[in-house]
Symmetry: C2
Subunit: 145 residues, 2 copies
């Protein structure tokens, strides 16, 4: 497994996709999102439902419904998305799984690991959801395959 859980990977890709597709208003359906990011449809549905409850994205039922991201939410940083899905253990936890990460009782990898952990956090904190809309439009970056 990678740095993020599968659930979190799908969540991040979906959030990018939805932000991109609803930048000019409008909504996008679950099937389209699932296809756009190559994820299992119903599993993604559950993830989006959760993100919706937590206010990371928005949704509307019924015909012409779908998922979207409002102006305020699209300014959110990726760290909010990761925190909503995986919690913030990735940002604060010990790399070797000690109960607490601390300077007073550090694990052998602590000094090196804390820097890396912080860089992961900064990367996510300093990146907004909407930030890649243009790259996606230009086909510079991809969300599947």
């Amino acid at each position: 497994m990678g740095v993020f859980s599968k659930t979190c990977e799908y969540a991040l890709r979906a959030v990018f996709f939805i932000a991109h597709r609803t930048a000019e208003g409008g909504k996008v359906g679950i099937k389209e999102v699932a296809d756009g990011i190559a994820s299992p449809e119903y599993f993604l549905a559950k993830i989006l439902q959760d993100l919706s409850r937590k206010g990371i994205i928005q949704s509307a039922k019924g015909p012409h419904g779908g998922f979207f991201i409002d102006d305020k939410s699209r300014k959110n940083s990726l760290s909010e998305v990761v925190k909503a899905v995986d919690g913030n253990g990735l940002f604060t936890g010990c790399g070797l799984g000690l109960e607490y990460c601390s300077e007073v009782n550090p694990c052998p990898l602590h000094n090196q690991f804390k820097d890396i952990r912080n860089q992961i956090y900064l990367m996510l904190k300093n990146t907004s959801i909407e930030q890649f809309n243009e790259d996606l439009s230009l086909g510079i970056t991809a969300l599947k395959k």
Copy 2:
């Protein structure tokens, strides 16, 4: 979940513990290791069996038997341990879970993520198993709680 799987966390802590305790020759039993790194004994047993089969650590059955790490193996880097347990997906995989990580079809996070991923690799590659023996002896670093 953190950067490493639970299995991998236990493996790394155990490897540090065994290297430290068998630096002057001798062996250490599974119960002692499990206690020393605060891990479930029988689950750890499986992990150590696996590490032993893969040549990361060594073991001896019978009275006065136990686990140990020979001179050659203790020079191994942590990346070997992680690779043995979790594979090398952590070192090569896409942060957002795309099938392949590549420059030609990069995900939005690719440029930032590849640096971080490489730092994780370098940290592990440049750290040997035996490297923390002294710190552990001095109580500067810990493997439990």
